[in-house]
């Protein structure tokens, strides 16, 4: 949100309502294309609501503002969640969301940085954190207190470059850098194929202040982000345990949750059930 001061008291109820709106946007997008990485997107809806409507410092009217906090989505295929957040934040038009994944749309299934509000090309996994390290280093060198938030995922931690970056962030003491590690337990081939546990211990061993939370508990997300503001010479990691498809039971229980495709009639049923469950008009 546009401001220069640290965030004040969070309105948890309002943030939960934002998360619901993000989920609604994502369902609209996936229905339009018939498919998408919606399981992952729904899983991080609470995180993105907390970031874009509470924690991040940015100006929707001036995306190049040098003092803005940066949010780098390293898992480019989570774009569906980012588009929802950018639309809700007023950076891209809400009525453009329906073009998600369509030919010539700016709202790609995997992010490119040509779309307004995208800080990094995230599709080649293992790229985001190192670029976050570079941005935090560059901001510090230029005496800016802007912060850099990098979202990455459990499967992505299998890329060795993640650990090259983690090592360097610890070495350089980048306390303006926050890694947001979405552990949703799935990757392209199914349930996480290479055991990454204990995740938090790995980050601590690399010199990061590390918290582990339920990433779908808004109170916990907001509190962990607030704790990560501490400037103590150490980078911050938040391990978020999330449920793919969170808030949409048909997707939560799907075997196909890495990439979810159903026919339009089923989408209509899913959306109707979602609206009933959230108790708000469509």
């Amino acid at each position: 949100m546009l401001r220069n001061s640290p965030p004040g008291e969070a309105d948890i109820g309002a943030l939960k309502a934002r998360a619901t709106k993000l989920r609604r946007h994502m369902l609209t997008m996936a229905r339009g294309q018939g498919a998408g990485y919606i399981g992952q997107g729904l899983g991080v809806a609470d995180l993105l609501a907390a970031l874009y409507f509470h924690e991040l410092r940015y100006d929707p009217q001036n995306l190049g503002w040098v003092e803005r906090d940066r949010f780098l989505l390293s898992t480019g295929h989570y774009s569906i969640a980012l588009w929802a957040a950018l639309a809700e934040a007023g950076i891209i038009p809400v009525d453009e969301l329906i073009t998600y994944g369509a030919d010539d749309s700016r709202l790609e299934m995997s992010t490119l940085d040509t779309t307004p509000g995208v800080e990094v090309i995230g599709g080649s996994l293992g790229h985001g954190l190192g670029q976050g390290v570079g941005q935090a280093l560059g901001l510090r060198l230029q005496k800016s207190d802007a912060r850099v938030f990098v979202e990455l995922s459990d499967g992505e931690m299998q890329e060795g470059s993640t650990w090259e970056a983690a090592m360097s962030a610890g070495h350089f003491g980048l306390d303006q850098l926050v890694a947001l590690i979405d552990c949703n337990g799935i990757q392209a081939d199914g349930p996480v194929v290479l055991d990454m546990e204990p995740v938090a211990d790995k980050w601590r061993a690399f010199g990061w202040d590390t918290a582990e939370i339920d990433g779908n508990d808004m109170d916990a997300v907001v509190s962990a982000l607030a704790a990560a503001r501490r400037r103590n010479g150490r980078p911050k990691a938040i391990v978020l345990r999330t449920l793919p498809g969170k808030g949409v039971p048909r997707i939560e229980t799907s075997e196909k949750s890495h990439f979810f495709r159903v026919d339009v009639r089923e989408w209509d049923g899913i959306i109707a059930a979602f609206e009933t469950s959230v108790g708000e008009p469509a």
């Binding site: 570079g134 230029q142 090592m167």
Partner: protein, 329 residues
């Protein structure tokens, strides 16, 4: 082996003898000195290396600007990623490592993190081609081919100390990503005073009509020496120096080649995918029908050995260039 002989053998094996212009003036660490000079007037320049600062001549910059220098450790993917991030905050990173690591190991990062976003990062790569005796792990024999495939990346193979200094300045003026091969340590001065380097421009250094050598990198020194020797034998040899591999100066290459009887390419690189391929593509596109003889490395990995031994064995010496041309008949 005597102590001096052992020292000489060590030096050769370390590839520190790449400056073969024994009868030419030399400059120490031309890249690092040029970067340190630029750093004074360009506060946005930052230096990075992946544990090869000492071996890529960047220490003059580090010593001048310690706060603007970052050693990323042995992690070339992260070297490029961090450079990309720094560039996104408005800085201009110059990142050094060896060519093999910048290309083979960090290729996805150069292609996607740098070039796809057209970021203002310069990669300066040591040990091009056969300038080290450490074998295939250290010899960047295919880096030009790899890098020229990346859209928007500028690729430079300078021939001497003068050009390294001029190219360093030109890179700083160019707002996008650049890959430059580097000759390090004691580097000869080959080009005449007044030489002007321009990204994307070839330079005709000798006129000739029988043979036209199109050369890049350190092979331009050999080409010039070969042209001088062949002139005494009545063979007229022209030399077109092509320091920029991408964007390639197709117009100058086509015009130069059209004006000679026979074309020879000379590069410190495999003869597939690099300068030779570019020249052949260019001539074909331009409809210039000339026979092209390719001097360069074979399509295989090269063994370990002293640099002069390897350069002689694989035809990268002046003697070899002269011999190849005389055999053309």
């Amino acid at each position: 082996m005597s102590a001096p002989a052992m020292e000489a053998a060590r030096t050769l094996a370390m590839g520190e003898n790449e400056a073969t212009g024994a009868d030419r003036p030399t400059v120490e660490a031309p890249f690092g000195r040029a970067l340190a000079r630029l750093g004074v007037i360009r506060p946005e320049i930052v230096g990075l290396t992946a544990d090869l600062g000492k071996y890529t001549d960047i220490l003059p910059f580090r010593d001048a600007f310690p706060d603007r220098f970052f050693n990323i450790g042995m992690a070339e993917q992260n070297l490029v990623a961090v450079a990309a991030g720094l560039a996104r905050t408005g800085l201009q990173p110059f990142a050094t490592t060896y060519g093999v690591f910048a290309t083979r190991r960090a290729f996805d990062f150069v292609a996607i993190a740098l070039a796809h976003s057209n970021l203002n990062v310069k990669i300066v790569a040591g040990l091009p081609g056969l300038t080290t005796g450490y074998g295939g792990t250290h010899q960047a024999i295919e880096d030009l081919a790899l890098m020229r495939m990346i859209p928007g990346l500028v690729v430079i193979d300078p021939c001497d100390a003068t050009e390294i200094e001029a190219a360093t300045e030109a890179m700083a003026d160019h707002p996008g990503p650049v890959y430059m091969r580097q000759l390090r340590g004691t580097v000869p001065v080959v080009l005449e005073p007044g030489y002007r380097f321009e990204i994307g421009k070839a330079q005709k250094l000798r006129d000739g009509k029988d043979i036209g050598i199109v050369s890049t990198g350190l092979m331009t020194e050999r080409a010039l020496d070969a042209a001088d020797r062949l002139a005494k034998q009545g063979v007229s040899v022209g030399v077109l120096h092509v320091p920029t591999i991408k964007p390639f100066d197709t117009e100058a290459v086509a015009e130069f080649c059209a004006g000679v009887d026979r074309v020879v390419t000379a590069e410190n690189h495999v003869v597939v995918g690099g300068l030779a391929s570019l020249v052949v593509e260019t001539l074909f596109d331009a409809g210039v029908a000339k026979k092209v003889t390719r001097i360069g490395l074979p399509d295989r990995y090269i063994e370990c050995g002293a640099v002069p031994t390897l350069q002689a064995r694989y035809g990268l010496t002046t003697d070899a260039v002269v011999g190849t041309i005389l055999k053309l008949g």
